[in-house]
Structure formats: C-alpha cells, structure tokens
C-alpha cells in the first residue's frame, strides 16, 4: 500500500471497499456466510487450466472449486463459470484439463453445456468424462444427448451411453434400447438389457420378455437378470401382476437355481398383501 495512505484514509477506503463488496455479494452467499469468489484468482486458475496436465500442482486450480462453492444460489455467476469450463472443452487444452472441466461441469453444468459435452461422446479419450458430466446434469437435454449418441457410437463408447441411460432410468430411451437387444455385438445387447431392467417400465418389461425367449445362449443369464431387475422395479411401483408374470416366466427348470430362487422370492413378494 502506498505510503501516502494515512491510517484514517486507509480505514475509510477499506470501509468503502467492504461496503461495495458486500453489496455485490448475492443474498444466498451472505446468508450462507460464504466468501465471494476471488475474481483475479479465478482468472488465473482458468489461465493455468489452459495448459494444465497430469502431475502438475492442482493448487492454482483450487480457485475454480472455491468459486463453485461460493456461487451456490447465484445463477449468473454459475453461468459464467459454466461457460468458461465449457470453453476449455472446445479448445486445445490437454486431456487432463478437459478431464478437470468435465468433472466441474458435472456439478454446475446445465443444458447450455450439453452440446459441447455431447460432441465428446464419440471421442475415445473423453467420452467417459463427458458422460461423467451428462449423467449428472438434471436437464432432459443431457439424456437426449446420450440417446442421440447411440447410432453414432459403437463398442465401448456405445455401451457407456447405454449404461448412463440406464442410470438415469430414461423411459424415453426404451424403444432405442429395445432395438439394441438384437445387436450383433453381444456386449451392446447385454448393456441394453441391463439398462432396460433398470428403467423397469411395462414397455421395458415387454421388450425384455421377448428377449428372454430369443436371446442367444451367451446372453441368457443377462436376459434373466434384466427381467428380474425389471420385475423388482414394477413391484416397487405397485404393479404386482406385471411383476408376478415376469417372476413366473423365470421359475422353470430351464433357469439356473439362483435365478429360480430369486423368482420364487419375487413371487412371494408379489403375493403379499
């Protein structure tokens, strides 16, 4: 601080700064007793992030995490952070930097981030971290992006999207997932069956019922498990008759013992008042 600042003047200036700063802090932050983000530190963190790579000190990036915490309830500030994180994904930043950005977008990302994240679903290095964010973004645009990626992907990348749709229990994806049960790639068909089991709607049950009859030998255990999972969801939702029908279909001696035990348990649960 320059010497010309006398104590009284210094106090007056500090008071003014504090008052102005307090006025700029959103109400939610004041209520939570949070500190406003240090803009200079955040700017520096984003500058560091442009070239951040594995093994480097993460300390300079800490300001971004602090800003995420401090801006809870401040939509405008969050939007600014979100757009800056999304910009990292479109540039030439190292994989580690994009990994960092995806993880933070999983916390604050909105529909606005979905297009850039969706663009990474076909990137073998970044698809997982894109799903890391998309799986958590509540907006319907996130699941729509995962669904839209199904015909554009194959193998592991497609399986990843299928798994995420199952985690989200996206009912709108049932037709697309049901179609994948006939895929030549058995790992894809298996993932689709498991996802349908998680979704657990009557439409999913219908597709899985057919799959139980038509699945190749190697997928029979997956088909049985997906049907059991689906029946469990229906049962939890009060659809006892539909669940019981599935359990009955898995009670035959053509099923392994642990599946028959599971089906018997399910039938008992479905019969309970």
């Amino acid at each position: 601080m320059p010497r010309i600042f006398q104590p009284a003047m210094r106090a007056a200036v500090l008071t003014a700064v504090v008052v102005l700063a307090a006025a700029a802090v959103p109400a939610a932050q004041q209520a939570a007793g949070k500190t406003a983000p240090d803009k200079a530190a955040v700017d520096k963190a984003f500058e560091t992030l442009r070239t951040f790579d594995w093994g480097q000190d993460r300390g300079p990036l800490r300001a971004i995490d602090d800003a995420i915490v401090a801006t809870h309830g401040d939509a405008a500030a969050r939007k600014d952070l979100e757009s800056r994180l999304a910009a990292v994904l479109t540039g030439s930043a190292p994989r580690a930097a994009k990994d960092f950005a995806c993880r933070r977008l999983s916390l604050i990302g909105t529909a606005d981030s979905v297009p850039v994240l969706a663009g990474l679903l076909t990137d073998k290095d970044l698809a997982h971290m894109a799903r890391f964010a998309l799986e958590r973004i509540p907006d319907a645009a996130a699941v729509e992006a995962l669904r839209a990626a199904l015909p554009k992907t194959a193998g592991g990348l497609r399986i990843g999207c299928i798994v995420s749709l199952g985690v989200r229990r996206d009912e709108a994806s049932v037709p697309a997932l049901a179609a994948l049960l006939a895929e030549q790639d058995q790992a894809v068909a298996a993932a689709a069956a498991t996802a349908l089991g998680h979704i657990g709607t009557p439409q999913a049950a219908a597709a899985l019922g057919d799959f139980l009859k038509t699945a190749p030998a190697g997928l029979k255990p997956i088909a049985a498990d997906a049907n059991l999972a689906c029946a469990g969801r229906l049962l939890a939702g009060g659809k006892k008759a539909e669940a019981a029908a599935i359990y009955k279909s898995l009670s035959g001696l053509d099923q392994p013992k642990h599946v028959r035990v599971a089906a018997a348990q399910g039938l008992l649960a479905a019969a309970a008042p």
Binding site: D57, R58, D125, D225, A241, V261, A264, A270
Partner: protein, 414 residues
C-alpha cells in the same frame, strides 16, 4: 392400472419346488482330499483381490479354489499357495459353477461392480469395507444382494469382537439412558502420493485395475501401501475406508436411518499436491431428526455413545463406560441381544451353509457407508445439507443429489 396378481397357491409351491429341485453342482473337491471335510460341508471360495487386505483375509475358512487379481504375481502366488487357478479377469472366475462364494478385497472402486456381478452369478460374498464409491453403487449392491437372496458379509470385523457387541447391546438396551450425542473418530487421511506419470510395470493390467474409474496415467498408487485409499477416483479416503469401522459400530448401536431428516455440515481439506485428493482433517456434524448429535472427526478409532445416564465408548482395542459398573452388567432376557459371532470369516462360512444373515449384513453396510458419502458431499459443497435416510436423497437439493452417482468408465456398469 395395476391388477391383482394372479398367483395361485399351486404356482407358488411349484416355484418354490423348482427353486430347490436341483443341487448347484457337485463341488470341485467332491472327491475330497485326505484331512479335508467332505464336499457337502466344504465351501469353495474364489478370491478376488489378492493384495494386502486380500492376503490377510485368506479364504475366510473356506477352500480357496481360485484367485484373481490384475497383478500377475499376486494372483499366481495365491493360486500356487492354494492349488487353485489364477484369473486375471474376475468374470472368468465368476463363471465357474463350482465356486460357492467369493471374497472381494479389491481396491474400493471395484467393490460394488464385482459384488453385483457375483450376486448375478449366484455367489455369496464377503466384501471388504467400504462399500461403494457412490450412494448409487451402494443402492445397486443392496438391490442385487436382495434380488438373489445372497449371503453378504461386510468386512467390519469389529462386529465379531464380543466387547463391541456388548457395548452396542448396552446402548440398545437403554443402559446409558436416552442417547443424546455420538462421537465417531477414525484415523486420518492425508496428502501425498506421486502424481507424476510413470511407466506401467510388467505384470499389471492397468486398464483392468482402473476398470470403472476414470482413466489417468499410472502414477504408482496401484502398487499398494495405502496410496489408492486416498485417491478420490478409487476411494473416499479414510472418511470411508477406516471410518467404515466406527461408523459401523454407530449403526450397530443406534438406528440412525430411522431418525431423519439429518442436517449435515462439515469442513475438511482436499490436497492439491501429490496424487492424493481425498478429504482429510474432516470435521462433520450431523443432527438427526430427533435431535441426537453426531460428530465425526479423525484422530483415532472409537465410537462413543453419550446418554442421559452415562456413556459407552467402543473401539477395536476395548470398551470404556461411565459409570464403569456398566461393564460388569449382565444383560437379561428382556434386554437387546445382537447377533453373536466369534469369528468374522467363520460367521460368513456358517451363513453360506445355513443361509442365515451374517453379523455384518448388507443393509447395515449401506447405512454406515452412506454416512461417509453424505459427510464427503457436505464438505465438498461447503454448506449444510438435509438428508432423508429413508429415501436416500437430499430433498429438494438438485445440486447435492448430483453427487450421489459417478458415471463408470465404459464398458463397466452395475
């Protein structure tokens, strides 16, 4: 519209008969070797994870017939010691019909994916603590274990120490009066670990070791010691990894999940240098719906229940109480008596045979692990959260609810 289920008594009996109609298979050692129990009494074990924890657990008293690890030397050493078969990929081990049960002692991020696959394959399981790396994983594990009626033993072996059981029985029997406060203390995590990329050593299938965790370069933490325990991609740090023990005693002595909603807040440090990035120096305060306060901090190992008429402190090493006379109390027939187990592995093997519920069951495992998760989430979000322990969610808090799951790296799922 939901219809009444059309299940006849005959159908139920038929289903039950079909479920019991055939034995699993004749076990691998049916012909038996000298000095071993007959096959009908022997439980065959597949070991999945043969590092430090896995080696300590052995086969829990069962007959190890298979050993699996992403490290070649570890799986081959165990296979050679037991005369079993070595497997790189746990899915190959699980496909063996002659294996009754598995002991899962992998790094934490693999616990639930392997456990769910084991349940689907009809295997019983002993699973090292902590449970999952997300609440979603915990729920998936509980669902799969219940779906198939599997025997599940959680690796919280304090439940097989008589003084721990007695302490929890004192609390549940009201001998300290009404519980007002519970202090939980576990060893601390900390900073450290090499963060610089290194060459993957021969004999490690690093991609399989990572499995569902995000890809990052090899930095040496899969080598063992306690490196990966403190890396957030593979674990939550000791807020879960060691915290699982005193938190398990907490839920054994008090039904936290029945007293919602909880108010959860806390502080902690996330390291920014080195590979470790799990929280350490945490200080978590949870207030249950009935006003009972829980404080969870690092610095030791104990769970102290404080009531209106005294307190009981339980640790792996012993039990203390005030008044001390509580420790000499003989519990009567009308007091609470918890499941008795003198050997954690033995209790598991007995349960595999009898189909009883082991002393460390899946529901309690989920309850205690979730305390670690909500603590971690509250610290990371830096604000007080409300948790509904019956619905397993933060009511009306979309931001916090996002953190209940972590997308798994392809092609893995549960």
């Amino acid at each position: 519209m939901s219809h009444q289920p059309t299940i006849t008594r005959r159908e139920l009996l038929q289903a039950a008969a079909a479920a019991c109609a055939a034995p699993y298979v004749i076990t691998s050692g049916a012909l038996g070797a000298a000095g071993k129990p007959p096959a009908s009494q022997r439980v065959t074990i597949g070991k999945i994870g043969c590092g430090g924890q896995g080696s300590g657990l052995g086969g829990c008293g069962g007959q190890v017939v298979a050993a699996c690890d992403a490290w070649k030397d570890r799986r081959e050493r165990w296979a050679a010691q037991t005369g079993g078969t070595a497997y790189r990929d746990f899915r190959d081990l699980l496909s063996r019909p002659d294996i009754d049960a598995v002991v899962i002692a992998t790094p934490d991020h693999w616990h639930v994916p392997v456990a769910v696959a084991a349940a689907k394959a009809g295997k019983d399981m002993y699973v090292e603590k902590p449970l999952g790396v997300s609440v979603y994983q915990d729920q998936a594990c509980r669902e799969a274990v219940h779906r198939y009626g599997r025997v599940f033993q959680y690796g919280t072996q304090q439940r097989s120490q008589s003084h721990c059981r007695f302490g929890c029985e004192l609390v549940r029997s009201g001998k300290i009066g009404q519980v007002k406060e519970i202090l939980v203390v576990a060893p601390n995590s900390g900073p450290g670990g090499n963060a610089k990329p290194l060459s993957v050593p021969d004999g490690l299938d690093y991609d399989l070791w990572l499995g569902p965790a995000p890809w990052t370069p090899y930095t040496g933490c899969p080598l063992g010691g306690d490196g990966w325990y403190h890396c957030y991609d593979y674990a939550l740090g000791f807020i879960a990894g060691w915290g699982a023990h005193p938190l398990d005693i907490l839920v054994w002595g008090y039904d936290t999940h029945r007293h919602g909603p909880w108010q959860v807040e806390g502080t902690g440090i996330i390291p920014t240098q080195g590979r470790h990035d799990a929280i350490y120096d945490w200080n978590v305060r949870i207030t249950l719906g009935n006003g009972v306060r829980i404080t969870f901090t690092p610095g030791g190992d104990h769970t102290r229940f404080i009531g209106t008429e005294g307190w009981v402190g339980i640790s792996r090493g012993g039990i203390k109480a005030e008044p001390e006379s509580l420790l000499k109390l003989q519990l009567g027939p009308n007091d609470v008596h918890l499941v008795e187990s003198a050997s954690h592995g033995g209790n598991f093997i007995d349960a595999v045979r009898s189909r009883a519920t082991p002393v460390s069951n899946i529901d309690d495992a989920v309850h205690s692990d979730i305390i670690s998760h909500v603590s971690d989430i509250a610290i990371r979000l830096g604000r007080k959260l409300t948790w509904d322990p019956l619905r397993d969610e933060f009511p009306g808090d979309a931001e916090a609810n996002r953190m209940l799951c972590r997308a798994m790296r392809e092609p893995w799922g549960v």
